[in-house]
Symmetry: D2
Subunit: 368 residues, 4 copies
C-alpha cells in the first residue's frame, strides 16, 4: 500500500519516474512541462540521481540514447515542438532497442502554436514521426493517478520490450491537482535496467563486449533487425492493449472513442445525453499504440454511430475508422488550438452527428 | 515540346526544380541524395540561383522557412534521418502556410540504418512526423520522367495551397538513368512565388505590412488557423488525388496497391502471375497524401484479396486497410532494410497470400 | 580622383570593402557593428556579391576560411565578444596562410560588457588571442576617411602576405559622419585574390592539386610552417610599420602614444597643454602590429615622460614600455567601460603625471 | 604528510583537482589532455563528483561559468584549439569574478597543428585571448610534482581572487611518470567555494539575492568593474609572483629565462655550458602572470646576455625584454611545431648567441 498525496500532475509524473527507479533525467525547458523539470531538478539530487538540462531537445534525445546504452533507466519530458526535435533520436533509440521513457505534455500546434492543451501529436506518437519502420509504445492517462501508474508502467514496458515508451498528456493533466496514491513498492528499484549486462555497454571485464549500433550496411543484417522489431511489435499488439469501456455494454446509439483529458469531458457529456434518452457508450484507449482495435470493432458492431472525439482535427479518427471496418458509420468531433470544449458543447456536437447520421442512414437511424 | 535527355534520377530532380523556377536550394549532404546537391552546386550559380549548404538539416529547415517567407520558391533534398531532423521545421512551415518543396530520397532505417532503397518513411511523410494538425502533400514517382514531372507539380501544388509538398523517392530512382523529356515551358518561370506580395515579408513600401508567424497564444486565433488548414486539406483531398490503375478493370483475383520503385517490380510480378492464370490488377498511388482511398475501395470491391506491397514493414497497409472497409481481405507483402525483392520473389509472395486467403475465406476463394 | 561623400563610419567601412574588390561578406549581428551588416546586406547583391549571415561568429570564422581557401576576397565585421568567438578560426586562417580581413568595432568589456567605445581588445588583436605562434596585421583608423583607406590597405596587405589583417575601430568611428573621399580606382578590382591559382582550391584542371591544411603531425613540417610564418612576420615588421607623429619633433616634456579615437582626444588635450607651456608631442600608431617601436623609442629619447593613453586599462602600455627601453619614464593614462574622457580630463591627467614624474625624477623634471 | 605514488602527469593533474576539493569537472576531449578526462570520468563518481562532457569547448566554458556561479569549485582541461574556443567564456568568467581553474596541455599550432609539446599559447594565456581588460593567473609546472602543487594552488588563488587561474603544461609533463607526493591535507576540503554565500546564486532564503552578471550598460558601473578588476590585478602582481632561480647568483655570462618543460632542458644545457667555462644562470618563472619582472631585471643587471628560451617563436621574449629595460642585450632561442630541442642543441644555440653578442657588444663581451 502506498500513501495518498494531493499533487499536481506534472509533479506526480516526476515522482512516478523516481518510484520506477529512474535516476537519470535529461530535459530542455518548454511550457507546459517545465514543472516536471523543476520538480526533478530538486528531487533527483535528493535520491542520488542525475538532473541534466541539455543544450537542446536534439541533444537530449542522444543523452537518452547514451545513458540507456549504459544500462540506466532514463527519462525525458517535453512538449510538442520539443518532441519533434527528438524524432531522429527516437528512431535511433528504437533501432538500437533501448528502453527510454518520454513524456509529451502536448500543446497546441502546429508550429510554435501556443501552450494550451491538445492531442494533436497523436500521429507523431502513434505512427512514428521519425524515419524507418519502428513503433513507440504510447500510453495516455486521463487522471493524475493514472499518469503516475502509466509512467511506472511505461518504465516496465520500455524495459520488457527494450523500446521507447511514450506517455502523452496535456497541460490540463499537468496542472490539475488530484489525490494520488504513490505506491511505495517495498524495496527501492534499481536505477539500472534489469538484465542490461546482456546488451549494455558498461565495461566488458570477463565477458564478450556488447555493441550498440544502428548502422547496418549489410542488407541482410538490416532486414533481420526489422524482422526482429516487427516480431516485437506484434507481441506488443497482442499483450499490451489497454482500454477502459465506460457504459459500453449492449446496443448503443453512439459509441464515443476518446482518450486522456478529452475522455473526461466525454464522460460528462455522455451522462447528459443519457438523461436525454440516448444510449452512449465510451471506449477509452489507454494504450494508443497498440490501439484497442478489436475492442473498438466489437463495440462498434453494437452501435449505430461511432465518433472519434479528439482535441485534434481528426487523427485517431483514422485508427477508429480502420478498426470499425464499415460496421457502423464513423464520424469525428473535435477541435484544436487549445479551445477545450465544455461537456455541453460536446453533447451538442454528438447530438448533431446522431441526427445527421439518422438522416443519412435511416436503417441505422430508428430509435431502438 | 521539351527535349529528351538520358539523365540520372538525382540530376533530373535537380534540373526539374530549376525548370519550376526555383533559384534557392538549401541542403545538407547525406547519401543517397548527395548527387542532387552536387548537381545544384554547379547548376544554381549558372542560372543565377543560390546554393547553400546549411550547418545541419535542422538549420536547412529554417532556411527554407525564411526564404519562403521572403517569397522565394525554395527546395531541399535529403534522406531519411535528415528528414527526421526537419520535422519541427516542417510543422512550422505548414503552420505559416509557406510553399516549400522537400524531396526525401528514402534509405533503409530505422536509426542510422543504411543507404539502400526503402519506403519506410511513409508514415512520417503522410501522417506528419512533426507536431500538430498539419499535412504535407506527398507525391511518389515511379520513373525518372515522373520524378521530373512530380517535382514540377510539387512546386505548383506547394504554391497553390501554400503548403509543404514532399516527393518521396528512393536511391534506385536517384541512381537510375532513364530517358527524360525536360519540358522547356516557353518563358522562364519567376523564381518568386506568384502572388507572394499578399503575404510575404519582402518590404512593405506603400502597403500594409505582412506578418508571418506560427505563435497563436489566443485560442480563437489558434483554432481559426486550424480550421483554415483543415479546409485546405479537404480541398486537397478533393482535387489532388492522383493514381495509376494498371490492368485493374473488372473482377480481380488480387489487387496490389504499391507505389514508387516497388510498383515497378509489382508490374513484372503481376505479368508472371497473369501468365499463371491469376487476374492481378495494380493500383499505384501517385499522391500518397491525399491517398486514393475511393479508387482503392472501388477496385477492392471487385477483388478477392487486396495486398499492400511495400519496401517497408506495413505502413501504407493501414491506409489501404482503412480504404477497403472490409470489402475484401487485406494483406501485406513487404520487406525492409534495403533488401529489394525480385519480381519472382514478389510473385511467389503474392501467390502464397492468395493460397492462404483461399483457405481462410473459402467464399472468396473459389476461382471465378 | 574619387568622389566626396558624407558617410557614417560603419557604412564607409562596408563601401571600402567593395571598392577593394570584396564580394563575399559573412557576419553575425552584434552592436555596435550591425550597421556594416545592414549596409552590405543591401549593397552586396547590387554588386553581385554574397551577403551571408552565419549561425554564429564561430561559423563565420570558418566561412571566411572556406571562401578564402577558394580564392575569394573575404571580409567580416564584428565586435569584441564576437571576435573572441573567432579566435580558434583566426589561428587556423593564419596557419593556412589565407588572406582574410576582419573589422573589430570594439565595445567595452570584459564579458558581455556594454556597447560603448573601447580599445580593450588591443592584446587580443596584437598578441593573438588564438593558440599557436601567429600574428594578425592590425590597423587602427582615427577618422572615417582613414577607416576607408585602411580597409582598402587591409585587403592589400592580407593578399600580399596571405595573412589575416584586422582593423580595430570603435563605435565612435562607426557612428561618426565625416566627409570621405571614396577612391574610384579606375577599373573594378577582381573579387578573387590575385595569384590564388598557385594555392587556392578552385579546381585543378590541367595542373597539380592545391592543398590547404593546418594539420601537421610531422614535427619537421610543423616546424617549417612556423619558420616560414616567422620570416613573414619579420618582413611585415620591416615593411609595414605605419604611424603619424603629431608635433613630436625636438625635445619634449611629454610624448603621448595613442591610437584611434583616443588619439583625436589627445590632440585637443595636447593643444591645451601646449598653451599652458608644456611641449607635448603625440606619436599615433596606425599599425598596431607591427608596432612602431623604433619611432616610439627615438621620440622617447627626446622626452622627459612617455604616456600610453588608451581607452583600456594598460595594454598598449606594455609595447610602449618595451619600446622605450628605459630611456624615459613610462606612464599610463586611460579608462575603460565606455567612459570616454574629455580633452580637459586627459589634459588634467597628463598634467598630473608630469607633476608626479618631476617629483620622482628631479633630474628629468626641471623645466627645460 | 602525504603519500608517494608513481603517476603520469595527466592523472596527477586530475587527482590534484580532487584533493583541492573540486567535484565538478567539465571537458571536451582533445589530445594530449584526454587522459585527464579519462581519469576523472572514473574518479569523479567515486568521490561523489560530477564528470560532464559538454558538446563543445564553447559549451564547457559556460558550464564552468554556471557551476562556479552556483558556488562550486570547477575545473576543465583542454589543449590549445580547445582553449581558443573558450576565449569568449573566459572573458565572461573574469568579468563575473568567478573562480575557475583551467588547464591547457599545450600542443603545437597554429591551426589544427599537431599533438606535440609546445609553449605557443603564452600570449593567449598571459595577455588574455578574450576581449576586454582582464587577466588570468597563469602557472607553469616543470615537474609532475609541481603540476600537483600548482593545480592545488590554482584552486586556492582562483578562490582568493575570484578569477580564472590557468595552468599551462604540455604533453611531455602530461605523459611523464614521476614520483609524486599527494598531500592528504587532513580533512576533506569543501567542494564549495569558501564564502560563496556572499556572491553566488544558490538560493536566497533569508538574505538578499545575489546577482551575477557581466552586462553593464551604464558606463559608470562598467568603469567601476574595470577599476575593481585592475586593483585586483595589481594585488596579484604584488603578492603572487613565483619563480625559481637556478645558479643565478653573482655575475653571469648568460641569464636564461625559461619555464616548464623547456626549463628542464635548459638546466642540463646550462650544466654543459658551465663545464665549458660559461657562467649560466636560469630564472624559471613559475607564475607567468604575474610575470617575475623585477627578478628578471635584477638578474639581468648582473648578466652580459639574457636569452628567453621557449618552445615557441618569441612570445615570453616580449615580457623578458620589457623587464630587462635595456640593462643587457636580450635574445631569443626557441623552436615550434613540436620539435623539442635536446640539451646539446640548446647549449649550442646559447653558445652561438653568446659569441654573436660578444662581437656586437664588445664592452659586455670581455670574459669577466
Amino acid at each position: 500500500m502506498g500513501k495518498r498525496y494531493l499533487m499536481k500532475g506534472n509533479e506526480a509524473i516526476g515522482e512516478a519516474a523516481i518510484i520506477a527507479g529512474c535516476r537519470a533525467y535529461f530535459c530542455y525547458p518548454i511550457t507546459p512541462q517545465t514543472e516536471v523539470a523543476e520538480y526533478l531538478a530538486k528531487r533527483m539530487p535528493e535520491v542520488g540521481g542525475v538532473f541534466l538540462q541539455g543544450e537542446s531537445e536534439l541533444a537530449v534525445s542522444y543523452m537518452l540514447f547514451g545513458a540507456a546504452a549504459g544500462g540506466s533507466k532514463v527519462f525525458t519530458t517535453s512538449s510538442s515542438p520539443g518532441i519533434s526535435l527528438m524524432q531522429e533520436g527516437l528512431s535511433y533509440i528504437a533501432a538500437a532497442e533501448l528502453p527510454v521513457v518520454v513524456v509529451n505534455v502536448m500543446r497546441n500546434g502546429p508550429g510554435l502554436g501556443g501552450i494550451l492543451p491538445a492531442q494533436s501529436d497523436y500521429f507523431q506518437a502513434v505512427k512514428g514521426g521519425g524515419h524507418g519502420d519502428y513503433r513507440s509504445i504510447v500510453l495516455a492517462p486521463a487522471t493524475v493517478q493514472e499518469a503516475v501508474d502509466l509512467v511506472i508502467l511505461a518504465f516496465r514496458l520500455a524495459e520488457k520490450y527494450r523500446n521507447p515508451a511514450m506517455l502523452v498528456a496535456d497541460g490540463m493533466i499537468g496542472q490539475m491537482m488530484e489525490p494520488v496514491e504513490i505506491p511505495d513498492g517495498g524495496e527501492t528499484p534499481s536505477p539500472e535496467i534489469a538484465g542490461h549486462e546482456a546488451w549494455a555497454t558498461v565495461g566488458a571485464k570477463g565477458r564478450r563486449q556488447n555493441l550498440i549500433k544502428t548502422l547496418f550496411l549489410d542488407p541482410t543484417l538490416a532486414y533481420n533487425l526489422n524482422v526482429k522489431l516487427q516480431a516485437k511489435y506484434r507481441r506488443v499488439e497482442q499483450e499490451e492493449v489497454r482500454f477502459e469501456p465506460i457504459d459500453a455494454d449492449g446496443p448503443l446509439d453512439v459509441l464515443l472513442v476518446s482518450f486522456g483529458t478529452m475522455s473526461r469531458i466525454c464522460r460528462t457529456a455522455a451522462q447528459q445525453l443519457g438523461r436525454a434518452g440516448l444510449r452512449v457508450g465510451i471506449l477509452r484507449p489507454i494504450s494508443l499504440y497498440p490501439f484497442p482495435a478489436a475492442a473498438v470493432r466489437e463495440a462498434a458492431s453494437r452501435a449505430k454511430l461511432v465518433v472519434s472525439v479528439e482535441l485534434s482535427m481528426g487523427q485517431m479518427l483514422e485508427d477508429v475508422d480502420r478498426a470499425v471496418q464499415g460496421r457502423a458509420p464513423v464520424r469525428f468531433y473535435g477541435t484544436a488550438g487549445g479551445k477545450v470544449p465544455t461537456p455541453d458543447e460536446v453533447a451538442g456536437g454528438i447530438r448533431a452527428l446522431v441526427d445527421e447520421t439518422r438522416r443519412e442512414h435511416p436503417a441505422h437511424g430508428k430509435e431502438s
